[in-house]
Subunit: 548 residues, 2 copies
C-alpha cells in the first residue's frame, strides 16, 4: 500500500489561510483554500495566501477542493488559485453561495465547477473518499470531513464547537462522529483555537439575552458590529429587533450583500418589513432603529471606523447612540479597535464592549469540547492545527493528559509532510510552501525585498540625490541636489551630505567619472553615511546621475 | 480672588504623557512631565511628548515641577523640557534617583536642581503650596499631591491603588487623605485607568504565590519579563529565588541599571551572592537560575524579543526554559507580544502568560478603590484623567451613581483650561497643546506632513523619475528613466508611465520646456496618474529634472 501524506500548506502553527493536502498514490485532495490578514509589519499588504506551488506541480493528481465552511480563512484564497487550476469545488449550498459571491468580485466564475453536497453525503475522489459531517460553528452548514484512505480515516474537525442549542437548530452529528470513531481514525486534524480556555464554551443562542438587554436599555439607535459572515448572530439581532419594535438596516458593502443573499436563500428568517434601507432610517425615531455594521476589528476602511472619523456619508454617529461590539478582537487589532471606540465615546455615544449578559460567543471548542471530540473519534494520531505554536503546545499537553503518548501527537508547521504507512507515521522533508503577500488590487505579490524597502521608507523616509556628469570631459557639472520625503533629520545633515559628496567627487579621476554606475553608487553611499553619522537616521537614498 | 486654572497638557483622554498645570495669579506649578509611546501609524517615532509652548510662554510664573512618581508616563519627557526651562524638580529620593539616571542619557544634569522631599512634606510654590501624600502603586515612593489654592485643595491622586499589604510595608496615608477631605477639596484629578474593573484589585504581595508556584514547577531556567521600574515585583522575584535556591541575573540595559541603582540605595533587599552576572550563568545548573528581562510588551529591540529571534548573544533561550510574562499587555501590543511568544514556544520553551495563581497585579485602583478615594476626599468637582475617553465615560457614570451631579464632573481633553472661582467652574478656551513626535535620536520632531509621506511610502513605495532638458534649445534630451523602491506594481505600469510622460513632453512648446518647475510637476503628475490607473497603487513619485 502506498504511503499516505498529509501536508498543511497553511493553517499549521497559525490561525489563518487554512489549506491542507491529503495524498495517496495518484490521488490528491485539497481541504480548504483560505487567506489570512497581514500584521502591522506587512506594509501595504491586504491579504496573505498560501504558496500554491505544490498544488500546481501536482495538478494532475488533484481530485477536488473540499471546503468545510465559508469563512475567509478557509475559502478566501480560492480566487488566487482557481485561475491557475481547474478542479471542482465540493461544498454545501450555503458555502457555495458565499464563495460564488466572493469569487464574482475577482474572476469570471462561469468556469468554476461546484459540486453541491448535503451534510452526511460521501464523495469519491479517486481512491480517496470524503464524507461531510455536520458540526456547529459561527457560520451555517459547517462540515467536518472524514477522508477515507487505505490506512484509515483522516478526520478534519474543521472549525467546530459543541453547541447543544444552536440558533438554526442543527446540531453536530454526534452519531456519525462516534460511528467513524469505531470505524478507525488514523489521524485527527483538530481545531485548537480555544484550547487554552478551560471548560465548555457558551451556546451561540445565549447571546440573544445580552443583545436584548442592551437594546432594551438603549435610549437611541443601536449599532451592532460583527463579522458579516455571522449569520446566526444576525438572526438573533433580527429576532431582538422584532421583539423590541425596532427596524434593522445595515452598512458596509459585505454586510449588505451577505444579508441579501441569506434572505434570498432563506438562511435568515424575518418579516419583510423588518429590514429597511439605510436611506429610510430618517423616517423612524432613534429608538426604533438597529444598524448592523462592519468594522468590529477596527479596520480603517470599514463603515464603523469611517463613522468614527465622521467620514461616512450615509450615517453619522450621534449622541445617545449605543454601539455594541459583538465580536472578539483578533490579537493585534486591539489598538485600532480602541482608537475607534474612543472616538465614538467622544461623539457622545455609549459603547458596549462587554456586558454582564454575553453579547458574543466564540465559534470554537473550549477544552472540554475538544476532549469530547477526541473521545468520540479515538484517533491514533493527533495533529492540532488552526492554532499558533502556543495553542499547539497546550493541545499537546491536553492530549498527553488524555493518555496519548507524545509520539502520537504531531506539532505540524506549514509545509511539513506528515507521512503514514500501516506501521508508523513520520514527518518527511517539507514541500515548497510559503506566504504570498498580496495587495487589494491583486498586483504581483509583495516580496521580502519590497517589504524591507517599505519598512526602511516608513521609518526614515527617502532622500533622492541627483547630479550631472559630462562623460566626455570626465567632469561633474554643477552641484549635486537633494529632494527628501518622509525624512525628519535636520536640513543640515542633507547639506553636509551634499558637501561630502562634492568632496568625494572632486577626488575622482576623469576616467572614474566616466563610470556612471560607479558614480551612482558613490553618491548614494556618501549621502547615506553622512546622514547616518549626523543624525543616526537611515533613510533610503536613491541617486540619479544624468549624463550630458 | 484670582481665577484658579487647571490645564492638562497631556494625560487627559489618554493613558500617557501626563503633564498638568495648576495656575493662580502669578504662580504656576507643573505636575508631572511624562511621555507616551507611539502607535503603529506613528512611523519611525519612538517617543511622544506634550507640546510645551504654554510652559515656555509662562516660564516666569513657574514655581516648580512636582513629580508624583518615576514612571515614564510621568517623568519621561523631562529631558525634552529641561534644556529650555530652568526650574526645580520637587520629588522623593527614589523618584529623583530614577529621573537622574534617565536624564543622564540625554543631557548634562549638573544644571538640574532637585528638591528632595519625603512623603508628608509640604513645599511652598508662591501663593500655592504642595503637600506630598503617600499612596501605593507599582513603583516605590509614589505620592498624591494636595495643591493648596485660594479656592481650596486641588488633589492629584497620581497613579494609585489601595494596597493593604504592600511589598515594602508602606501603605497609602489614609489619615491624611481624610484630613484633607475635611479641609475641603475643590477638585479631584483622579486616576481612571482601571475604572472599568469592578470590585477591589489584588494586593501586589499575592504575586509572590503565583511566581513561587511557577518557579517550583519549572524544570529549567525561569525568565521573568516585567517593566524594569517594577521594584516591588523584582523584590518578590528575588525572594522567591532565595526560597527556591536559585540565583538571579538580568538582561536588558534598563533592567540592569535599575537593579544596580536600587541595590545601592537599598530599595531592593537581597543577600550579596543572590544576584550574579549574566556571564556566570553557565556555572549553575539550569534549575538554579532566574533571569529578569525586559521585553514584556514585545518591543522589537528588547532583550527577550531579541532572544526569540536568536539575535541576543548573551543568552539563548533553550528547550526546557520557562518564560513568565509578569505584566499586562498595553492595548495595541498584543500582536507583537504573541509573535514573540510563538517564537519562544517554537524553541521548545514553555510560556506562562496567565496562571491559576496570579503572576501579575495591576498598580491602578479598581472601582471600589476609586470610590474609597472619592469618599475620603469628598471633592466638590471631579475630573477623571489618566484614562481614555472610554475610561472617563465609565468614571462619569460611577460618579453620578455616587451622587455627584453631572455638572460637577468634568471630562477634560488635553489643552482644556478648567477655571474655578468661588462660585463656579467652567472650561475656557484651550491653550496651545499638542503631541510632539520624536525619534530615539532626538532629531527635530516628526510633523504631520512627514508622517503622511511615510504612510504613503510604507504603503506603495516610491518611484523616482528623471529626465534631462536642454534649456537653451527647449528640448528633452534622451528618454526619461525610473527607479523604484518598495513598489510592487507590475513593471509594465512603470514602462507605460514613462511612455505617457514621453507623449506629454512631446506636446510641450520650447518655451514651456524651459520652465523647469513646470516640467518637474508634469513629470510627477503624469507618472502618478498612469501608475494609479494601471495598478491602483499610489506610490510617492519624485521627479528629477537635469538642466543641460
Amino acid at each position: 500500500m502506498s504511503t499516505l501524506k498529509v501536508v498543511p500548506l497553511g493553517g499549521a502553527g497559525e490561525i489563518g489561510k487554512n489549506c491542507t493536502v491529503v495524498e495517496q498514490g495518484d490521488d490528491l485532495i485539497v481541504v480548504d483554500v483560505g487567506l489570512s490578514f497581514p500584521h502591522e509589519e506587512h506594509y501595504g499588504v491586504d491579504i496573505v495566501v498560501p504558496d500554491f506551488t505544490y498544488l500546481l506541480e501536482n495538478r494532475e493528481k488533484i481530485r477536488g477542493i473540499f471546503l468545510t465552511h465559508a469563512h475567509e480563512d478557509h475559502v478566501g484564497a480560492l480566487s488566487f488559485l482557481l485561475p491557475h487550476l481547474k478542479v471542482p469545488l465540493v461544498c454545501t449550498q450555503f458555502t457555495a453561495a458565499m464563495v460564488r459571491s466572493k469569487l464574482e468580485e475577482r474572476m469570471h466564475i462561469k468556469d468554476v465547477e461546484f459540486k453541491i453536497v448535503n451534510p452526511g453525503d460521501k464523495v469519491d475522489a479517486g481512491q480517496l473518499s470524503v464524507e461531510f459531517v455536520r458540526v456547529t460553528h459561527s457560520i451555517p452548514e459547517t462540515c467536518a470531513l472524514a477522508v477515507r484512505t487505505e490506512h484509515g480515516v483522516v478526520f478534519f474537525t474543521a472549525d467546530f464547537k459543541f453547541d447543544f442549542s444552536p440558533v438554526d437548530g442543527k446540531q453536530t452529528d454526534m452519531t456519525r462522529l462516534s460511528e467513524i470513531g469505531e470505524e478507525g481514525v488514523v489521524l485527527l486534524m483538530s481545531d485548537s483555537t480555544n484550547v487554552d480556555r478551560p471548560g465548555w464554551g457558551p451556546s451561540e443562542s445565549i447571546v440573544v439575552e445580552g443583545l436584548r438587554r442592551v437594546v432594551q436599555q438603549a435610549p437611541g439607535r443601536v449599532l451592532v458590529t460583527m463579522f458579516s459572515s455571522n449569520i446566526h448572530r444576525m438572526q438573533q439581532v433580527f429576532d431582538v429587533a422584532r421583539e423590541t419594535g425596532r427596524k434593522v438596516t445595515s452598512t458596509g458593502r459585505r454586510m449588505e450583500t451577505t444579508i441579501d443573499m441569506c434572505r434570498r436563500l432563506e438562511y435568515l428568517r424575518l418579516p419583510h418589513d423588518l429590514y429597511i434601507r439605510i436611506d429610510d432610517v430618517g423616517k423612524y425615531a432613534a429608538n426604533e432603529i438597529i444598524v448592523l455594521t462592519t468594522g468590529s476589528q477596527g479596520e480603517p476602511m470599514a463603515a464603523l471606523s469611517q463613522m468614527s472619523r465622521k467620514e461616512y456619508s450615509r450615517l453619522q454617529v450621534a449622541e445617545g447612540d449605543t454601539i455594541v461590539y459583538s465580536a472578539r478582537p483578533i490579537p493585534g487589532n486591539e489598538g485600532a479597535i480602541m482608537r475607534v471606540v474612543n472616538r465614538l465615546y467622544k461623539m457622545g455615544a455609549n459603547v458596549v464592549l462587554d456586558s454582564d449578559s454575553p453579547i458574543h460567543a466564540s465559534g470554537h471548542a473550549y477544552q472540554e469540547e475538544i476532549k469530547l471530540m477526541v473521545n468520540l473519534l479515538k484517533p491514533f494520531y493527533i495533529a492540532p492545527v488552526h492554532g499558533e505554536p502556543r495553542h499547539q503546545h497546550v493541545y499537546n499537553e491536553l492530549a498527553q493528559q488524555m493518555g496519548w503518548p507524545e509520539h502520537r501527537v504531531f506539532t505540524l508547521s506549514n509545509g511539513d509532510c506528515l507521512c503514514m504507512d500501516d506501521e508508523k507515521a513520520w514527518i518527511d522533508q517539507p514541500v515548497v510552501w510559503g506566504e504570498v503577500l498580496i495587495d487589494q488590487h491583486g498586483n504581483v505579490p509583495v516580496n521580502d525585498e519590497v517589504l524591507g524597502q517599505r519598512a526602511a521608507l516608513a521609518h526614515d523616509g527617502v532622500i533622492v540625490v541627483s547630479l550631472a556628469l559630462d562623460v566626455k570631459a570626465g567632469d561633474i557639472v554643477g552641484k549635486p541636489e537633494a529632494q527628501v520625503r518622509g525624512f525628519s533629520g535636520p536640513e543640515e545633515a542633507v547639506f553636509d551630505a551634499l558637501d561630502d559628496l562634492c568632496g568625494a567627487l572632486a577626488k575622482l579621476l576623469p576616467n572614474e567619472v566616466r563610470d556612471v554606475d560607479k558614480v551612482r553608487v558613490l553618491a548614494a553611499e556618501t549621502v547615506r553615511k553622512t546622514v547616518s553619522r549626523r543624525c543616526q537616521q537611515r533613510p533610503v537614498v536613491i541617486s540619479v546621475v544624468c549624463e550630458i
